[in-house]
């Protein structure tokens, strides 16, 4: 299938960001994690093509690249939905009832942490600690930290998010 010119240029731009990171780090094998961070921020996730590309450029076996990509929680091999909801499960949030928020979202959207709704609208994630303990229980909706959540408020906020 022939890809449209605009699609190609977007991918090309992203690829150049990745190349930039590798070049800044002198194409050394220790640039792997930095490079994967760039791939993820450019493409939204670590796709197979990029993993192969990075392995080749940094002269690393694909198994090692895959090993690192799957070892660290920050990396994901699946594309995310349009919106993301990261529920903090840090100690302060846990003590203040983050479990009930997680349960409410899981039940309402029929997804478990790490999954995306079938329509690709919402990805549900959990975090070890956002460091926003004074706002516990807290979550990140897209880019914004929202605090002092209740299950009801979390669902209302999410509804506003996915309908916007």
């Amino acid at each position: 299938m022939v890809q449209s010119a605009s699609k190609l240029s977007v991918d090309e731009k992203r690829r150049r960001m990745v190349i930039g990171t590798m070049r800044r780090n002198g194409y050394t094998p220790d640039a792997l994690i930095e490079t994967l961070h760039t791939v993820q921020s450019a493409f939204g996730y670590l796709d197979d093509t990029s993993l192969h590309f990075v392995a080749r450029e940094l002269h690393l076996p694909l198994s090692k690249v895959y090993g690192v990509a799957t070892f660290y929680h920050a990396f994901t091999l699946k594309p995310e939905g349009h919106h993301r909801c990261v529920i903090c499960l840090g100690t302060a949030c846990y003590i203040k009832g983050s479990q009930s928020i997680l349960q409410a979202v899981t039940k309402d959207y029929h997804i478990t942490p790490g999954e995306t709704t079938e329509d690709g609208e919402l990805s549900l994630l959990t975090a070890r600690c956002l460091g926003s303990c004074s706002l516990a229980p807290a979550a990140i909706l897209d880019e914004n930290v929202v605090g002092n959540l209740t299950p009801e408020r979390a669902l209302t906020e999410l509804e506003g998010l996915t309908k916007s």
């Binding site: 994690i33 070892f71 920050a74 203040k96 926003s132």
Partner: protein
Amino acid sequence: MIHQIQALTPDDLPRIAEAEKAADNAFEHTIHVCAAAGCLSQHSDQVQQQLEHSIQDYGLTYCRVKGVGCMGLCSAGPLVSVRPEGTLYRSVTPHDALAIIESLSGEQVDRLVCPTNRPFFTQQTRIVLANSGEIDPERLEDYIAVGGYQQLANVLNDLTPGQVVDQISRSGLRGRGGAGYPTGLKWATVAKASGSRKFVICNADEGDPGAFMDRSVLESDPHRVLEGMTIAAYAIGASEGYIYIRAEYPLAIKRLHAAIRQAERAKLLGNGILGTSFSLNLNIRLGAGAFVCGEETALIASIEGKRGQPRPRPPFPAESGLWNAPTLINNVETFANIAPIIANGPEWFAAIGTERSKGTKVFALAGKIVNTGLIEVPMGTSLRTIINEIGEGIPDGHRFKAVQTGGPSGGCIPADYLDTPVDYESLTSMGSIMGSGGMIVMDEYSCMVDVARYFMEFCMSESCGKCVPCRVGTVEMYELLSRIVQGRASMEDMEMLLELCEMVKATSLCGLGQSAPNPVLSTVRYFKDEYVAHIANHICTAGQCQFESPTQEVQ
């Protein structure tokens, strides 16, 4: 202005400080707005914008607005402080900006005032946090104005590396990352190690849930950490360094990048620092969400671009670390203590705290407590002072049940031990650890068995999988704890749990596994009746655990 600062010599520092102070005195009022993550997530940036607009609208020339670091009382954010009066305003919204500007020539805005004559403010000793809330973390001049980089200049001019190590040793400073290893001893080991290439690493992989001290220090005063690292590099003979920071802290990363750029341009970092032959090149490495990377050898593996798995020690990183070169790894807060020690002398520092734990410690207070936020107290302060006075106790008339320190490697300390002084040894003797400084307060609605299970779940999923005791042991312990909270356990399960705890503690490869049983052991030690009530009577006194309904007997 930043872009005017070019290569500095030691003589330039007092000159810049003077100029900054003169510029500051040109304003009658400076309004400080917290621009650290806690207040920013409550839109303090909009407050700052609105204040600036109001000043512009009124055409005021005698006051200005300054974005500063964390002021500590995060639960009352966004915080705004008016100088020189020192009036603190809490929960400020953009709509309040006008009232605050108008108050400058009249009465304070009573409805927003946050009294500062409370223990939260009066009982703290701020060394590490001295500049937090005072300076603009994004301006190098602000840091120089409060004496920043002066200690680096003094060290490079007047002290030999050996003398620097000696000063740190005599101060009694111990590592603030958790284990409390004497910092001077660590520096001396790396300084003595042979090798032409050495590294200095700042561990900013603050992984404990409920701990945000390092993030706040980096967001509020990044140059202080850079200065500490540079002094350390000089003392041990390193010319390359890394800051390993969690990718989850975008603001801290941004400010660190900016600070490194500024310092390099001013020749406070990079090649030929302050006109001497000493060089240090610093790089930032982003963590990728692995708790185990807080462990030194795992952190090193991660910087090398590998999976963050620890390796057996010895050899310790001090002898063979990053790319097998001698490597010094200290925590953010440890580095932040260096410049004040050099400035005031080791005796000054050693006079603060207890006999074996010197100086202060920054804690992140969170959980069921009125004042959540960041505090700094002298070592040896009692838990009661921290929780009841500084933290102002438990909200909603609830009762204190336990305080959790040290994150997943620590333990829960009950009410009976509230008068214990907080230092490395006494926390360890109570079955917990100092850890990096997270303090989570719990009331009677927290089930201790469930808390133990929560931390075990954490360790289970964060176990790197390299050694069997940790990889398999945490799974088995989690399963046993799950059985207890679900009412499926027997007393034999409890015995097996304790046996496993001892085994995992004794045989795991690194600190993660060795300390993973701590939350279980400490809750069993102080709250054994809760475990028994779950197992024998299917009762959760906190009312948290949902027990499976007993199977119906066939009649």
